[in-house]
Symmetry: C2
Subunit: 319 residues, 2 copies
């Protein structure tokens, strides 16, 4: 049986066991700091779970799971420089602790470490594994690029937004799960099923993120409600409101209103346009798509149910 | 016959022919800008020359030559952010033109492009090619790290300096020439011979750089003499002087002297310690080592002579 806690423990142990070369000055100190800083480890878990569902042994994809976690952490190190972020996972970022120069260089080293790690597979899997890894990486960069450009673009369409969050969020989930399936020796139909599952899962996850930031229960959500509105972040809700009620949105956003006033005005527009329910329905659609996709993977019913339950948990979460 | 101009032309054409994916916003604009900005193209030429010497056809290593040039340019894009450099090759840097955020992200994308490109080889060469590429990349990062740390370390030894310039300068030459030899199907002895050749060549090249900055002919050198001394850069000359005449160096460097006075005082110490001749002898040693190494490569005498001539040119250059 697939056990999320077990997969997470395997990952944590492997990350703690990484050996760094000596006589390199402080190059790998921020890498070690980042890789040992916790986090949900959802991506390596997906990689290991897919591998276990296909061949029975999650460990066959351990190096790929670690490579994915390394890649993810490399993007976080560089993102924190780009955003000038001081805190992540309750600790100072590499940027805050060592400065931008060190964060750039150690991030680069971590990307190359990830590439070297993902290669630890059978020779007959080497090319598909690396193609998957490199294609995923480019998708993540493009997602990050579009996200940055959308900040100053008031004409973003809903479709463009969905493509951006696919690239920024789903693509790495797709890469993780595909790598696990590939090294396990899955047939093409099963790899595709996992890919489609992770794509829908990521979109549901990100839309739920958007929804919670406005309509979440403050007592459960853990963050202050309305942050996205205050930052005028182009979420699915915001873009739809801009498109369907441009005058109301312009009025709500003008004149530098106070925080509470702004959040209330925009949330009222969202409600009037039924955006809470419509977003919920879209999340449900993606959840259904994930369930439908995983039904085509050649895996046991028990394992399939595990993926269905995970999709339910992530798309219906309240925090 | 190996023809440097021909190899350089092949590289330039291939770089101009790179296709970038669409709908990616401005992610690849700085990449295209950088790859089309000229430069000596010494690294791809070494890669193609080694390939031609081994199998007769330089084009067999074209993708690896381009990958090396991509990697080199990725490091330049990130270096310019780290150094806040505004100009390179007579044009604004990516950092100056698009800012640090874009330079970091486009640099990352270029590193992944390089990795994807180096993989364009026969399947039986894929693992050695990627191992060579990734190992080289880590060496370059470590060299950059040590170079940064040496700036604030007054106890750097000559051996540590030589290891640092090997990592920072020679390693990528070694990687370039090895990749060319590997994809051409060279035997292990020939790959090793090329590697040793490039290692010695890179050290001679960098030491000549140090020497020229102090003892070069201003009319030929093209840059103002003494920049390294003014910046208190830890060159081979500077480190030896610090070790052998610490009191004199401390006196020369104290009291914030004017530029001319400082350069003259330090150059006088160098002369007194015979450092100009000793540096010259060391360069000659490395040149001899390069010639000795290439004699063990299983290539034609005409091709061998080309590599010997190149080493002579680079280690005896006046600008």
């Amino acid at each position: 049986m697939i056990d999320l806690q077990h997969l997470s423990d395997i990952t944590a142990r492997a990350l703690a066991d990484i050996k760094y070369p000596g006589e390199c000055g402080g190059l790998y100190t921020p890498v070690d700091y980042t890789l040992s800083s916790g986090g949900k480890r959802l991506r390596p878990a997906l990689c290991l779970a897919a591998c276990q569902a296909v061949c029975g042994d999650p460990l066959k994809a351990l190096d790929q799971a670690i490579a994915i976690e390394m890649f993810h952490n490399f993007t976080l190190i560089h993102d924190d420089v780009m955003d000038r972020s001081d805190t992540r996972r309750g600790r100072p970022t590499v940027y805050a602790k060592w400065g931008d120069v060190q964060a750039i260089l150690s991030g680069d080293a971590l990307l190359t470490m990830a590439t070297a790690r993902v290669m630890m597979c059978d020779n007959d899997k080497l090319r598909p594994v690396l193609d998957c890894f490199n294609d995923t990486a480019q998708e993540v960069y493009i997602g990050q690029q579009l996200d940055m450009e959308f900040e100053s673009d008031d004409n973003v369409t809903v479709d463009e937004y969905l493509r951006m969050i696919f690239l920024k969020t789903s693509a790495l989930l797709c890469g993780s799960i595909s790598l696990g399936a590939i090294v396990a020796g899955a047939d093409r139909e099963t790899v595709n099923a996992f890919y489609r599952y992770a794509k829908a899962l990521g979109l549901a996850f990100q839309l739920r993120d958007d929804w919670l930031d406005t309509f979440g229960d403050p007592a459960v959500f853990g963050k202050r409600i309305g942050g996205d509105i205050v930052n005028r972040k182009k979420t699915w809700l915001f873009i739809n409101a801009l498109n369907e009620a441009p005058a109301d949105m312009a009025a709500a956003l003008s004149d530098n209103p106070g925080r509470e006033e702004l959040v209330k005005a925009v949330t009222d527009i969202y409600r009037r346009l039924n955006l809470s329910e419509r977003c919920d329905l879209l999340i449900q659609d993606y959840y259904n798509e994930a369930v439908d996709a995983i039904s085509e993977a050649h895996i046991s019913d028990a394992d399939r149910q595990w993926f269905v339950d995970l999709a339910k948990k992530l798309s219906h979460r309240n925090s």
